[in-house]
């Protein structure tokens, strides 16, 4: 997926003017926000659970090398393989070579954000292998040839009429006059299509919500059960995972799982939680013949020990997206790459560079709602500010904004001089704004007055009035 994060402003403008997107985004609140709030209210131990989960991840990140090697040893002991990949290109080449070794033609795929990061579908397709997304949302965006707009609900930016349209355009073998009015009918249709794909696939690719060091297992959570069929039926199961998915034990995963679904969809638990440990054993009645873990770094190890290390605690629940007023206003695709919303605004510059993604950490009001709902207590606003600091120190932010801040700071550190300007601004704006009480337009303030009025100052600055009053009191 070619990033368009540099065009964030234009993307956002288009999103704000897209009535279907705006309609789709209004569903977000009832769907996720209210259900999450209900779940959290039922859990008196919520805060303790968050603290425990943070401690688990902090410990793991502090000893990540140890747990990664431990994990690999256990995967191998179970008969599987771990492929260490520095970047997306290495990971894609690894997936392709596994597929080629099995002479694979079709690959089914469970939902994987690492797969999105690698753009593995495009890569396989270019190399003559057909990937089929089996998560309904991912399937919808795949047949529409677009990227995800949300990390757990990839097609959340669409309304059901758009989905029906895409189904009709793609499933041309079905009766063109069939009814496709509600979600149920569309689910049934997708289920019928998917069933054939599951049975015919040579390789199944899934992501991983957790990697378990002590057992060499990977865990996925789904609500559709598509992950199980994806990984159990084909000849090989490939797990795409980034290295920070690691936790030491199954017990640790269980702790974090209590936070995950509640934070994500407002469920107590996802419908399916599937633990995969190695390939099919002699005594198993089914399962893949091969089990591969493609372990992707792609810039993450470089975040260890930096001010962005906390980001590696992220469990991709999307609570920060669901509670972000900016995300809700513009949808996920405006962010221009795989990871949108607050977590994307921190992670995308880490992975693509601040030159490409500089707008993302700037496009936040710092309202702090993301941090307040993050089950892993990631200080997202703080890290967005760190990106702004890096951008500022490298002179990468727009010149006008930069000089504006520098000029203002020059004054703010010289109270006497500052007072001349602040008193003057209050007087002049107060004088001209007195009659209407507000301005519909103001020179150099179009960013404000294009959208809302600017209330006029009362006329005299506080400090002037206060000094005058003190003089009067002293005289009296």
């Amino acid at each position: 997926m070619k990033p368009t994060s540099h065009a964030f402003k234009a993307n956002a403008r288009a999103a704000l003017g897209d009535p279907k997107l705006q309609q789709a985004m209004t569903n977000l609140r009832a769907g996720f926000v209210e259900r999450r709030a209900l779940m959290v209210s039922r859990m008196p131990e919520w805060e303790q659970l968050r603290d425990q989960a943070v401690a688990i991840k902090k410990h793991t990140l502090a000893h990540l090398d140890f747990y990664l090697e431990n994990f690999e040893r256990n995967v191998v002991a179970n008969g599987g393989q771990v492929h260490w990949c520095r970047d997306a290109a290495e990971a894609n080449a690894t997936v392709l070579s596994i597929c080629r070794s099995l002479d694979a033609k079709t690959v089914t795929k469970g939902k994987s954000m690492i797969g999105e990061e690698m753009a593995v579908n495009d890569y396989l397709e270019a190399n003559g292998i057909t990937p089929v997304e089996t998560d309904l949302g991912e399937y919808i965006i795949q047949i529409r040839h677009e990227g995800p707009s949300h990390i757990i609900a990839p097609a959340v930016h669409l309304v059901k009429e758009q989905v029906a349209e895409s189904f009709r355009a793609t499933h041309t073998h079905l009766d063109p006059n069939r009814k496709l009015d509600d979600a149920r009918q569309m689910c049934d249709e997708a289920r019928g299509i998917m069933r054939q794909k599951f049975l015919g696939a040579d390789v199944g690719i899934t992501g991983a919500n957790f990697l378990i060091a002590e057992t060499g297992s990977s865990i996925i959570v789904t609500n559709e059960g598509n992950g199980d069929l994806t990984q159990t039926l084909p000849r090989a199961h490939i797990v795409l995972a980034s290295l920070e998915k690691m936790v030491p034990t199954l017990e640790d995963a269980a702790t974090i799982l209590r936070l995950l679904a509640r934070s994500a969809t407002g469920q107590e638990f996802s419908a399916y939680t599937t633990i995969s440990t190695g390939p099919r054993r002699a005594s198993d009645i089914d399962g893949p013949g091969q089990y591969h873990v493609v372990l992707l770094d792609n810039g993450r190890s470089a975040l260890l020990g930096t001010e962005f290390e906390d980001m590696l605690r992220c469990i991709r629940c999307a609570a920060c997206l669901n509670h972000c007023p900016v995300y809700e206003a513009i949808g996920g695709k405006s962010y221009g790459w795989v990871y949108p919303g607050p977590m994307g605004s921190v992670l995308t510059p880490s992975l693509l560079g601040i030159e490409e993604a500089g707008n993302l950490p700037n496009a936040s009001t710092f309202c702090g709602r993301c941090e307040s709902v993050c089950p892993m207590k990631i200080p997202l606003p703080k890290m967005m500010r760190h990106w702004r600091e890096r951008e500022f120190s490298r002179h990468l932010n727009p010149a006008a904004a930069r000089w504006g801040i520098l000029a203002w700071a020059f004054l703010a550190t010289r109270p006497g001089l500052y007072r001349i300007f602040s008193d003057g601004a209050a007087l002049v704006l107060g004088y001209f704004g007195k009659a209407r009480g507000r301005f519909r337009s103001l020179p150099l303030a179009g960013g404000w007055t294009d959208f809302r009025d600017m209330p006029a100052p009362q006329g005299q600055s506080f400090h002037r009035l206060y000094a005058r009053e003190r003089r009067r009191k002293e005289r009296a």
Binding site: A329, C367, R369, G437, Q460, L465
Partner: protein, 260 residues
């Protein structure tokens, strides 16, 4: 904090927006703090808390300004700001700014420990239970983000508003969701800010209140500006103006002078 029976000495951090746009909020704050039994000073060497620089990534200037504030507000029992955002900057972020400078860090922490947002100072510190003010009408209160999430300001303004004679508080939907201001965000991403502000205005409208109140002038300028652009009748005040009984002293935010 003060020894003996002397009145606590409070330094008012006016905030740059109150200084230029709405001095009446500063005077309302002084009146309320005095009502709560304190004496009030206004240190002359104050300009701004440095938040615009801090949130723009200009850490050096943010530190310069923070040092200036730390020096100007020495020696008072408390530092109080009629803004959760500016108080939050001093209280929560100054210590973070100097995490690698032990000497200044100690002074920043010391300042942080005696800095409060106005309404939480009145209720949590001075234990003010009620005010002697009157406002005839219904009001809805917007929880500004920094005050709410950095300082836990939520029940305090509602408690004091409940004691205002004639005032009925009516809650809007999503009072805790950002109004779209976000400092320079409102100008840098004006269209996104506008969309968020429009949602907020729809919720304000649905609450059918005569007055919109909040504790931060930045948010208030944004919401009042949008309400006026939309032609809404709702009037906007800083909560301190209502609590100090000063709503009738002049026009509400964004209202013309000859209209009351």
């Amino acid at each position: 904090m003060p020894a003996g029976n002397r009145k606590p000495r409070v330094a008012l951090f006016v905030t740059c927006l109150v200084d230029v746009f709405r001095p009446s909020v500063g005077f309302a704050a002084i009146k309320l703090i005095e009502q709560a039994g304190c004496s009030v000073d206004v240190p002359e060497l104050q300009t701004c808390c440095g938040q615009p620089a801090y949130n723009s990534g200009d850490r050096d200037d943010a530190k310069r300004i923070a040092r200036q504030v730390i020096a100007a507000f020495q020696g008072f029992d408390y530092v109080v700001a009629p803004s959760g955002s500016c108080a939050g900057m001093i209280k929560a972020h100054y210590p973070a700014l100097f995490s690698d400078e032990p000497e200044t860090l100690a002074r920043a922490k010391e300042l942080s420990s005696r800095t409060y947002e106005l309404i939480s100072f009145l209720t949590d510190v001075m234990k003010l239970e009620s005010v002697a003010a009157r406002f005839d009408g219904t009001a809805t209160y917007h929880d500004s983000c920094s005050g709410l999430r950095e300082l836990g300001v939520k029940t305090q303004p509602r408690k004091l508003l409940a004691s205002v004679k004639g005032l009925t508080l009516t809650e809007m939907r999503d009072a805790e969701i950002c109004c779209g201001f976000g400092g320079t965000f409102a100008v840098k991403y004006g269209d996104i800010s506008d969309k968020i502000a429009s949602e907020k205005c729809a919720n304000i409208e649905a609450a059918k209140a005569d007055a919109l109140l909040a504790g931060d002038l930045g948010c208030l300028l944004n919401m009042a500006g949008k309400l006026k652009r939309l032609g809404r009748k709702t009037k906007t005040w800083h909560v301190a103006e209502i609590l100090a009984g000063m709503a009738a002293d002049g026009p509400a935010i964004g209202e013309p002078e000859n209209e009351s």
